[in-house]
Symmetry: C2
C-alpha cells in the first residue's frame, strides 16, 4: 500500500483512532442532556421553513450572502441585545460551524507563528491546543473567584511592554469560566476592559456558556461595555439547543469582519440548521433556556452530592452557578492524568486538570467533570465508580460517606 508518511505536512502530526462509541459514564465534552433537545419542535420548524424557502437552497448562501442566513442573524442581534446588552447590526455577525470555527477564524485573522496572546491560566483545552499548533506563545493570567485577575493582567501587560511585545489579544471566557465556572462581576469587567484599552490590546470574548447562568441573568458582555470597537465575540447554540447542529456565531466590528470573511473558505456553513433555528428560536428560545436551568442545577447538585458522598473531604470545589462542568481539586497525591486512564478502563471518562490549565504540573491533581449530558442516576453511579478506581490506584478517598475503605 502507498505510504503517505513522507508526503504529510508539518501540521499532520496526530493520528486519530476509529470511533468506538462513548464510555458508560462520560463526564467530558460539551454534550448536553439528550432529553432536552426539542426534536419535535425543530421538526415542525424545519418543515415550515423548508416549504417556505427550501428552493433557495439552490444558491450558495441562499439570499443572505456569505455571513449566514439573515433571519438567524436578525435573531442573534436581538438576543444579544436583550441578554448581553450588545448593540450590534447583522453586518457584525457571521454564522459559523460551531464556535470552534469562530475561534479558528479569529486565530487565522490575527495570529502568526511567534505571536503572543494572554489567556486565563485555567482554560478551555481546545483553545490551548489550537494556539500551540499555531506556534503562538500563550501567557496564563491567574484566576480568582471573579475570573481573570486585573492585577495579574496588568503585570503581564507591563512585562510584555518592557520587552517590546504587544499581545495580539486577550482570550477570555468571562461568564461561566472554563473550567472554573466563575461569572465575572461588572466591576472586574470594567477594570479588565480599561487595562486592555489602555494598553491597546483587543479582547476575544468567548461567551459560549453565558446563556446557562442558573440565576438567569448575566452581566453585560465586554462587547457591550466597550465603545472603542476592540472586542471580538463568539457564542453558540450548542449548549442550549444541540451541539450536533454546529451553529455558532462570531461578532466583530466591520471592517475586521471584512478581513475575516475571506478566511472562511467553506462557502458557508450548512443552511438547514440556520433555517430551522431562525424559525424556532424567536418564539421558543427564552422558554427553552429557562427550562434548562433547573435541570442543570439539579444535575450539578447531584454531582456535588455524589462527590461528597463518595469522596468526602478528599475533594474541594465550588458549587456551580451555571454551565455544565465542575472544577474539582483532589489531594496532591492523585495524578489525574493517570486517573483518566484507569477510570476510562472502568467506563468513566474525565478531563485531567493538566489539559485545562497553562501550568500543567501545578494542576495534575485537578479534574473537570461535565454534568450536562449524563442523567442523575448515571452521575451517581459514575462518581461511585470513579471513587472506587481512585481508591484502588491512589488510596484516595480513604472514607466514602461514613465508611472507611480498604
Amino acid at each position: 500500500m502507498f505510504d503517505f508518511s513522507s508526503f504529510l505536512s508539518t501540521v499532520a502530526t496526530k493520528q486519530a483512532g476509529k470511533f468506538t462509541g462513548f464510555p458508560p459514564h462520560h463526564f467530558v465534552g460539551g454534550n448536553i442532556d439528550e432529553a432536552t433537545v426539542p426534536a419535535a419542535a425543530l421538526a415542525d420548524a424545519v418543515q415550515t421553513v423548508l416549504l417556505q424557502e427550501g428552493h433557495a437552497l439552490g444558491k450558495y448562501g441562499m439570499n443572505s450572502g456569505s455571513q449566514g442566513y439573515l433571519p438567524l442573524r436578525d435573531f442573534i442581534v436581538q438576543n444579544l441585545d436583550r441578554r448581553a446588552g450588545m448593540k450590534i447590526t447583522t453586518d457584525e455577525v457571521l454564522i459559523t460551524s460551531g464556535s470552534l470555527q469562530a475561534m479558528d477564524l479569529v486565530n487565522a485573522a490575527l495570529l502568526d507563528r511567534g505571536d503572543v496572546v494572554l489567556v486565563e491560566a485555567g482554560n478551555y483545552a481546545g483553545a490551548l491546543t489550537r494556539l500551540a499548533a499555531l506556534g503562538v506563545e500563550y501567557i496564563g493570567i491567574e484566576l480568582d473567584d471573579d475570573g481573570m485577575r486585573a492585577d495579574a493582567l496588568e503585570a503581564a501587560l507591563t512585562d510584555l511592554v518592557a520587552k517590546g511585545r504587544t499581545p495580539k489579544f486577550i482570550y477570555m471566557i468571562p461568564t461561566i469560566q472554563n473550567p472554573t465556572g466563575t461569572v465575572m462581576s461588572l466591576e472586574r469587567r470594567q477594570a479588565i476592559l480599561k487595562l486592555a484599552q489602555d494598553y491597546g490590546v483587543p479582547i476575544f470574548e468567548d461567551d459560549c456558556y453565558a446563556d446557562l447562568v442558573f440565576a438567569d441573568e448575566r452581566p453585560p458582555a465586554f462587547y457591550a461595555l466597550d465603545d472603542t470597537g476592540s472586542v471580538i465575540y463568539c457564542g453558540t447554540f450548542s449548549k442550549t439547543i444541540a451541539p450536533a447542529l454546529r451553529v455558532g456565531y462570531l461578532v466583530a466590528p466591520w471592517p475586521l469582519m471584512g478581513r475575516i470573511l475571506p478566511l472562511k473558505t467553506d462557502a458557508g456553513s450548512g443552511m438547514l440548521e440556520q433555517m430551522v433555528l431562525a424559525e424556532y428560536l424567536p418564539e421558543h428560545f427564552d422558554a427553552h433556556v429557562t427550562s434548562l436551568l433547573p435541570m442543570l442545577k439539579d444535575k450539578a447538585t447531584a454531582l456535588c452530592d455524589a462527590l461528597d458522598e463518595h469522596f468526602g473531604a478528599s475533594v474541594i470545589y465550588d458549587r456551580p452557578v451555571g454551565g455544565i462542568y465542575l472544577w474539582v481539586t483532589l489531594p496532591e497525591s492523585v495524578d489525574t492524568d493517570r486517573l483518566y486512564q484507569v477510570a476510562l478502563k472502568a467506563g468513566v471518562e474525565i478531563n485531567p486538570g493538566s489539559q485545562w490549565t497553562v501550568d500543567e504540573a501545578a494542576n495534575k491533581h485537578r479534574m473537570r467533570l461535565c454534568f450536562g449530558h449524563p442523567t442523575i442516576p448515571n452521575i451517581r453511579e459514575g462518581i461511585a465508580r470513579l471513587a472506587d478506581v481512585c481508591f484502588e490506584e491512589f488510596g484516595v478517598p480513604v472514607r466514602s460517606g461514613n465508611v472507611a475503605r480498604g
Copy 2:
C-alpha cells in the same frame, strides 16, 4: 475606533465587501436550478429523521463519531460503488462542509509552503487561489479533449525528478473537467494512473460534477482503478441536491484518513443536513439525478443557441456532455477581465478566463459561463445583453444572427 490593521496576520490580506444580492443574470458559481431542489421531499425526510433520532443531536457527532453520520456514509459507500466503481468502507469516508472543506483538509494534511503540486492547466479558480495562499507552487499540465495530457504529465514529472523534487499530489477533475467540461476516457485514466504510480505521486481526484454526465454513465473513478491506495477523492451533493446544504465528502485510505481527522477542528459538520440526506437519498437519489440531466442538457443547448445567435462566429466552444458550465473562447481582442467589469454593471456576471487557468495571459480572451442556475429565458436575455456590452466595449461580435452591428 480601534484599528486592527497592525494586528492582522499575514494571511488576512483580503477585504470582503458586504453582500448586495445577485445580479439579474449570473453565469458564475455552482448555484443550481432552484426549482429542482426537492424541498417538499426533504421536508418529509427531515421530519421523519428528527422524530426518530433528533434527541441524539445532544451529542457531538451523535452516535457516529467524528467522520460524520454513519447512515449517510453507508449511502455514500454504496453510491460510489454503483456509480464510480469504488470499493470502500465507511472508515474511508469523512463528511465535510462541502467539498471545499475536503480540499482544505487535503491541502492542510499534505502541503507546506514551498511544496509543488501538479494541476490541470485550466482549473477551478478556488483550487488555484488556495494553493497560492498556501505558498505552494503549482505547475499546469496541458489539456486536450480527453482532459489532462499524459505526455505533458510525464514531461513535468521527469522535469521535477531531474530537479530532485517530488510533487505532493496531482490534482485533477477528470470527469466534467472544470472549466473545459471534458470527461476523461478510461484509457487516459489508466495512462495517467500508471504514470502517477511509476513516479510514486498521489492523485487528488475531485469528482464534484461526476453525477452530472448527461449520458448518465461515467468511467470508473481513479480511486476505483488504483489498487495501491495512492488516490484521495472528494465529492459533493451540492450540484445534485443543493449547494447551501454544504454536504461534501472526502474519501481517503486509512491511515491517511486518521491523519486528516485531527485537522478538522470544527467538531463535525452540521448533522441535520447529513440526517436529511441519509433519509432522502437511498430512495430518491437515482431518480432525482436522472430528472436533472435533461433539464441541464436543455439549458446547455439554450446557452449554446443563444451564443450562436448573438455572438455568431465570434465564439468557439464544445457542446457540454455534462455539468453546469461552458468554456468559451472569444477573439483575442476581447479581454474578459474587462468584459467581466462592464458586463457586471449591465447586470450580467461571468467568470473571466484568467481566473480559471494557470497561464492567465494566454486565456484572457476566454470565459466560463455557468448555466445550472438561470432559467432558459434568463439565459437568452443574459447572453443578448452580454453581446451588446461586448460589442460596445470591443466591437465584437460584429454580427448577431443575420444582422450587422454598429
